[in-house]
Amino acid sequence: MKRSRKTLQPGRQRKLLSLLSLPVFAFLVVPTLIVVPVALNNSRYITFPPGGVSLAAVQGFFADQAWTSALSASMQAAGIAVVLGTVFGASAALGLHGRKFPGQQAVVGLVLAPMIVPTVVLALAFYQFFISVGLVGSIIPIGLAHAVIATPYVYLTTRASLAGLNPALVRSAQSLGAGMLSVFRHVHLPVILPGLISGALFAFSVSIDETVMALFMQSPGATTLPVKMFTDIQFNLTPKIAVSSALLVTVATIGLLIQVVYVLKRRSTARMMPLAV
């Protein structure tokens, strides 16, 4: 066996790794965070570097009915996407778990398709579909479309957590007298809950972020925040755009933090329990 001379000690390897990772990390995060100082700028236009600190733009954002209604439209669409996407994705994961039937892979592919099909294709398809069924001019079609693209995320996170399910638990609950609903509540739900939560957060951020479909199906009163930003940035370069960006970054960060805290809490409770054998 030839020993590589380039082998480093584990401690030095780690240092080198973090040294290399830092610029990558900065490259990924810093451009996003630039919106925060811009939003807190005291200028009437978008400028960088900012001249001075002021909450004027933030106040202006919340005073402007066009922007607040866009925020509310986004929240409504995200609400529909989270609820329906979670129900669809979790049902698909539970229904396909531990089963084998002909065409199963095709069903899985169908569930995952919204992740793979280009958004603009989906947007056009949804646009035509909702026009043909006469469901336009409200936030509902946007929410429904977002629910479809959120479903694969919930499906994947739920499926991952179901991998840890001991199938004997289902049988033992049945032998103790549990019906289908009780088995779901006492056996499946505790196992898939982490997957459901992270899936729901994914669904939320997918919807909040989605622009193309929301642009196709926009209407007065159904203009989401990214759409409002996109249209405004072409004609009306105000710091309110930066404020809404900062708002989205904040929401995404909160979502991420919830997940981190949840994971850490589970880990620490797991560690507190001595593993008796």
Binding site: A168, R171, A173, S175, G177, G179, H186, P190
Partner: protein, 375 residues
């Protein structure tokens, strides 16, 4: 490791009421495509009886239990509990307590919540269900540990919780699927005794599945030996052990000496056989029919003799002696056969044979069993 003893049952089953828990399988068959997992099985478990399905993996023993529990649907035949066919009942309506191989405790529930689960499903009032769960935990020696989560309990304690959970709702019978497989040897032996004591005090019928012949011997009222989806032999442990019907059963239930035999005459109880190289002798017979026969003599039933006296034996040479602690295993070549003789270490001093010396060995006629050579 917990070493507490099962507390006496606080609620003795009423002896006046007709005892329940009879399980009957009639011509039960299970196929997976072309594969026959269980073939035309007939089995009756009497109320209060401890019956063990013993067999290697793939013998159909677990499938049989799962069909009784209702998790597997049989292809044909009928399963009855207390005389009522349950073929169309889902598991939750069969009222059977099941203990699974790795206990299958609900990990997010405390021990008490696990035990209470069946009562919750039966809508038993909270106060009563809590009292009954605590009683059940007392009975398995886990008083005071009800608040612990399964992962905070040792393997033996988890198994006790699983037992309490399976018993708390007064099931018709208890089904145990290799419940001791995950425990170490000492704890396993301890739990065998505890489960047996508990079963006797409750008078509950048990269907037990294992591939461990010692466990089957130690616990059962009746052992049902299975192979390839069929029952090969069924009877009390001593009978199955001492009077196996085939060489396969004899070898599966421990060590044995098999001597090829030619039947000279037989009357169903006793047979006169010619043992190649060992002369003729009388052996026990259970009337099993086959093409080729052999005589099985357990190593502990083969004895050293002082001289060439009596039938059923012969002269040979001691080829090896291995001290196994409690017992000593000798190998003796007699009439062209290499036989195993096992004696207690404490008895060895008296005989004191040296390896290579000439010895006389023999056996009692009622300890030699005529059986069918398979395959």
């Amino acid at each position: 490791m917990t070493t507490s003893v099962i507390a006496p049952a606080t609620h003795q089953p009423s002896t006046t009421a007709a005892r329940k828990g009879a399980i009957d399988l009639r011509q039960v068959r299970k196929t997976y495509g072309d594969v026959v997992a269980v073939d035309q099985l007939d089995l009756s478990i009497q109320p209060g009886e401890f019956v063990t399905l013993l067999g290697p993996s793939g013998s159909g023993k677990t499938t049989t239990m799962m069909m009784v529990a209702g998790f597997e649907e049989h292809t044909s035949g009928s399963v009855m509990i207390d005389g009522v066919p349950v073929d169309s009942l889902p598991p939750r309506e069969r009222n059977l307590g099941v203990v699974f191989q790795n206990y299958a405790l609900f990990p997010h529930m405390s021990a008490r919540e696990n035990v209470e689960f069946a009562l919750r499903m039966r809508k038993v009032p909270k106060a009563e269900s809590r009292r009954r769960a605590d009683d059940a935990l007392d009975r398995v020696g886990l008083s005071g540990l009800g608040g612990r989560k399964p992962r905070q309990l040792s393997g033996g304690q988890q198994q006790r919780v699983a037992l309490a959970r399976a018993l708390v709702f007064n099931p018709a019978a208890l089904l145990l699927d290799e419940p001791m497989a995950a425990l170490d040897k000492r704890l396993r032996e301890h739990m065998q005794e505890e489960i047996k004591t508990l079963q006797k005090s409750l008078g509950i019928s048990v269907l037990f599945v294992t591939h461990d012949q010692d466990e089957a011997m130690a616990m059962s009222d009746r052992i049902v030996v299975m192979k390839d989806g069929r029952i090969v032999q069924s009877g009390p442990p001593e009978e199955v052990y001492n009077h196996p019907v085939t060489d396969w059963v004899a070898s599966f239930l421990g060590d044995t000496n098999l001597i090829p035999a030619t039947v000279i005459s037989r009357d169903g109880e006793e047979a006169v056989v010619d043992l190649a190289g060992l002369g003729t002798g009388r052996v026990r017979d259970r009337g099993a029919q086959g093409e080729r026969y052999a005589v099985s003599i357990r190593p502990e039933h083969l004895k050293f003799r002082a001289g060439p006296d009596g039938e059923n034996g012969g002269a040979g040479e001691l080829t090896s002696s291995t001290n196994l602690g409690a017992t000593i295993r000798h190998r003796i070549t007699v009439g062209g056969h290499s036989l195993q003789l096992r004696e207690l270490s404490s008895d060895a001093g008296a005989s004191g044979h040296a390896v290579g010396s000439a010895v006389h060995v023999g056996w009692d006629a009622d300890k030699a069993q005529l059986l069918v050579l398979e395959g």
